[in-house]
Symmetry: C3
Subunit: 251 residues, 3 copies
Amino acid sequence: MIVTTEHGAVRELRLDRPPVNALSTELIIALTRAVDSAPRDGVRALVLSGAPGRFSAGLDVPLLLTLDRPAMADLWRALYDLLRALACSTIPIAAAITGHAPAGGTVLPLFCDRRIMARGDWKIGVNEVQVGIPLPPVIVLALKRQVGARHAETLGVGGALMSPLEAEKIGLVDEIMDPESVVPRAIEWCNGLLAVPPHAMSVTREKSRADLVALFDRVESEIDETIQSWWSEETQGTLRSLVERLAKKKA
Amino acid sequence: MIVTTEHGAVRELRLDRPPVNALSTELIIALTRAVDSAPRDGVRALVLSGAPGRFSAGLDVPLLLTLDRPAMADLWRALYDLLRALACSTIPIAAAITGHAPAGGTVLPLFCDRRIMARGDWKIGVNEVQVGIPLPPVIVLALKRQVGARHAETLGVGGALMSPLEAEKIGLVDEIMDPESVVPRAIEWCNGLLAVPPHAMSVTREKSRADLVALFDRVESEIDETIQSWWSEETQGTLRSLVERLAKKKA
Amino acid sequence: MIVTTEHGAVRELRLDRPPVNALSTELIIALTRAVDSAPRDGVRALVLSGAPGRFSAGLDVPLLLTLDRPAMADLWRALYDLLRALACSTIPIAAAITGHAPAGGTVLPLFCDRRIMARGDWKIGVNEVQVGIPLPPVIVLALKRQVGARHAETLGVGGALMSPLEAEKIGLVDEIMDPESVVPRAIEWCNGLLAVPPHAMSVTREKSRADLVALFDRVESEIDETIQSWWSEETQGTLRSLVERLAKKKA
């Protein structure tokens, strides 16, 4: 589900769960392991990429609706672990957002070091609220860190999706590139960081990201709330009617 | 002093204290009550509007200069209560800034969810310092949350007024509309929020605004300071000469 | 090393340590004293300027490499004292960034009230990491306050230098002016602040800058770390090869 490619000291982790790189518990755990183990393999930076036109559709809602309570609790715990692994990574991670990136597809890059998105008719945004899922507090706070309190409130509460250009304008992504250049640019960006004195870079990176890492100090108390919220009538109802609509569309 | 109009689930509270919607203790208390009671009437969102060309001139300085110490203390306590009511409202509030909005006219919208301003030759800004009033700390912090520390410092310390376009550029307002479209757009914005799953929206809204609400935890100690400061020679002198100038202008 | 010029109530402190206004312990201490003593002389605002084309090159690395451990410890303590003096100044300080302003040349203005930079082919940026010096935490946090967490992380970790226009775009400087107008504009900006009621201005300024001042509460524990880091192999090696390259260039 993850295709690994070495580009010198930079390792690319390409999400490969067709058709839309939706996040299952299995993919989330695999990605967490890949992020955690990379430095031990001597890798010095990571690129997190997706398929052309499909970075990640976020959580695999149709699959998740088949899970029982313990399995859903496992999924949420795994997702928090992944966000923490990205935030705490000792090596830089550039997100190469190769296409559509709603919900979880927007959230993963928030915890990376850099967000480079493909120019094109793709959508990005934290639309969790639109599909009945309250945005977990740690994501609200990471969003605030990324785009400031004003934009974070608007994006989170309204749950709007937007174009890459709109996302760049408010700082939700850092750069827009032609689709074929997104991964090369992410590798180049990593190599730029690897060219500077490594200890000075690492220490400054750690200090600069200390506020992002600190968000996870308070996370235990919110995980249960997030899990419980999944089983609310509103969330279940909204997600089920969404999946029905998608199924009809396909048929 | 407040004209209430129902637009479906959205209630418009239009300030109606001619000629310039200046804030008196009475208007402040009436507005606080209107904000607090709306959810109990089944209202799901609020629009706070003013007269065409005159959103609100802020505190009614000529009137306030006639008040004695207990009455002024009441006014400041009432104003803090209003700001808290706006910040803590359980339903979203869009400010339809229909015209001039100096000082208090800028401050009220800071504690709302959205700020939509009329295009035109109006002025907006926290010009309290210009008229001799130190900006109360809770307003400094809300301003920082809205436009970031750098702009907040510049705006608060210098007290400059600016055009709607300048205000939009730095994020002091969120949108500029033609004057006749400001209230309709505010209603539309509210309806947009009411169209998403309500529990997910409310919970995310609460988490996103927690930092704004938290500003009021520390407010008790500053109210006395704010009240005392009103009676300083500098503030009294500046306000009295301002009122004289305005009186001469009229005559 | 500092040329003092009085412009009415505004005092200009012009760095004058040719050829590039590099910061030595002596210059740092002299500047700290000049900042601290100005209010006692009745000065009401300060302009910190440099030579045309050369605001300040930051720390005088070739000189610093000749210092022993106690002398280097003195330098770092003196630099922290200077940053604190700028942050805590009871009168406003405008930085007139007259030209190149890498590293320390970018850092000093971060702790001032306003940053006005000369248009032209100059470089500005916190490139400490590029020369092997981890960015001290208090500077990381001041940078975050100035440009937000996202840009601060990018600037600090990558250490890139940029043009005045790029710096203005992300808020690292507040204004760009023609070179001959930088100092006059800084004086004008100070006079603008001095024209408003002084008590209201000072109190609001103190509240607006309280977060900047508070950064120094936690500074004692980091100074030793900063000093120790200077003597690391990486820092010493990078700085020594930098100085060699510069020496060859000159020859």
